[in-house]
């Protein structure tokens, strides 16, 4: 269980990026955080792995304040894949890059090799294990950064804009990874502007604006018509399936599949 209590973060320049956030995230939940650029999403998740410390309030991991947990112990529990993969990648070989995290957590031998292979397979980079990360294009470097986090096997996985720059096949991979993590009982927290991904791969959506939580609910609730003015205030729009469902009087249809099912049900 992750618990944020009255979390406030003020950057050295005086920007109040988080302005009192209360949030409880149970183990195994798939939670998406949405909001416009500058709404505090990245600042929030950086508190979960100890990259940032609260200015006020507290972040509790299984009841323990994160600022009292040693960073090395926190790293074994929370993995964060950055929005910009180049802030993360440093090794000369794809395999070495992915092995770094689990090796630091004490994995060795076949256990280490197994974790690396599984992570590379999940992101589709199994054929690129011996390449230099910087010979990969941006989208594959992003998948590499994701593999590096997956290989650590942390119970909590945080993904910052995982679908950015991915083509159709890459987005499908990311969707499957989120689904598999969820099925394995791990907590997945993703920041995303991709509303279709958010509506179809997550069970809970938190909408942020100006450092506060504006909406918190299932995709059906957050993308339902009554919530649209709040979304619009923070320059977000629901996925087209949700808008079409409302226009056709079909109720809440956050995912494309749910819209088609609702349409079929009405047609009899």
């Amino acid at each position: 269980m992750i618990e944020l209590r009255g979390l406030v973060h003020v950057y050295p320049g005086g920007t109040r990026a988080l302005d009192g956030v209360d949030l409880r995230i149970p183990d195994g939940e798939r939670l998406a955080i949405v909001g416009q650029n500058g709404s505090g999403k990245s600042t929030l998740v950086k508190h979960l792995n100890g990259l940032l410390r609260p200015t006020e309030g507290a972040v509790l991991l299984d009841g323990e304040p994160t600022d009292t947990i040693r960073v090395a112990h926190l790293a074994a529990r929370v993995g964060l894949a950055f929005q910009d993969p180049d802030r993360q990648i440093f090794a000369g070989k794809v395999r070495t890059e992915v092995a770094y995290g689990p090796r630091n957590l004490g994995r060795r031998g076949s256990e280490l090799a197994g974790a690396v292979d599984a992570a590379l397979l999940a992101v589709g980079l199994d054929g690129a294990a011996d390449q230099n990360p910087y010979d990969l294009g941006y989208s594959r470097r992003k998948l590499l950064a994701l593999a590096s986090i997956l290989a650590m096997g942390t119970p909590i996985v945080i993904l910052d804009e995982p679908t950015t720059g991915q083509d159709a096949a890459g987005i499908e991979r990311v969707r499957r990874i989120v689904e598999d993590l969820g099925a394995a009982g791990r907590t997945v927290i993703a920041i995303s502007h991709d509303m279709r991904f958010v509506a179809e791969s997550f069970e809970r959506v938190v909408v942020m604006g100006a450092g506060r939580v504006l909406l918190d609910g299932t995709p059906a609730e957050v993308f339902a018509e009554p919530a649209w003015p709040t979304l619009a205030d923070t320059y977000l729009e629901p996925p087209l399936a949700a808008r079409a469902g409302a226009r056709l009087g079909l109720g809440a249809t956050p995912s494309e599949a749910s819209l088609i099912e609702a349409l079929a049900a009405r047609a009899g």
């Binding site: 600042t43 159709a168 502007h193």
Partner: protein, 294 residues
Amino acid sequence: MASSPAAPPTLAIRGVSYRYPGYARLVLEELDLEIAPGEIVGLVGANESGKSTLCLVAAGLAPASIGGTLTGDVAVDGQPTAGRATHDLAASVGLVFQDPNTQRSGVTATVFEEVALGSVNLGRPVTETVARTRAALATLRIESLADRDPARLSGGQAQLVAVASILAMGPRLLVLDEPTAQLDPEGTRLVGAALRELAGTGTALLIAEHKTNLLDGLCDRIVGLEAGRIALDGPAAAILEDPALRAIGVEPPARVRLAQAAAERGLAIPADALVAAGTIGPTSAHGVAAGGEA
């Protein structure tokens, strides 16, 4: 909007093949592409299909800056780009990368200076540069960032600054490689509007982008790449509805996906239910939220 067919193309790529230095494989193969003044062309394709490489070739950076071997001809406004100095080419061709950090000059202290830098380097009078810089910041509604350190912006803010820098230069040809990858929906909309405005002044645009939702309604024409060759080329609406789009690994826009998914079940969704929302957000003036490293 494309101008009369009589106008010579702003970009003419003829019979171009390209390989990166040290690699045997051709990344682009026997490629032909012309873009008319004011025409907006969307470039789609799976990752590694050659989109980014074609952007570098169209902008004259490959092979001039990054090496490699190019055969065939590339011309901007009828002038071959081969052999032209970077500063000479910069007066007519702009390039916006997917990663704004690649683009940042690293030599300026404020966003205003950063956006002005390209125009200054073109040797324009100070008053003109200042006016162009102000206009570019206003178009993308990032006036509030003018005094900020360009090295300390969020990904989305940095991307808007990168686009503003190119707008201020006012190129004849603008090449954008996933210009909205880091942007929220509002930033994406602002960039779309800015690009449409720029095309209205006669600038030709080539936009590589995975978000077909964005290309739909913005582009006159869509070109689809597959393994370094042009697989699809035609009017935007026709290509975006073409089943061949999926075959080259490109997801059609949401309206097309939903219409196709309904049709597969023998259902129909009225077209007016699938119209994109268009303008989003409150009607009040909007500054990009002044977040820190958000």
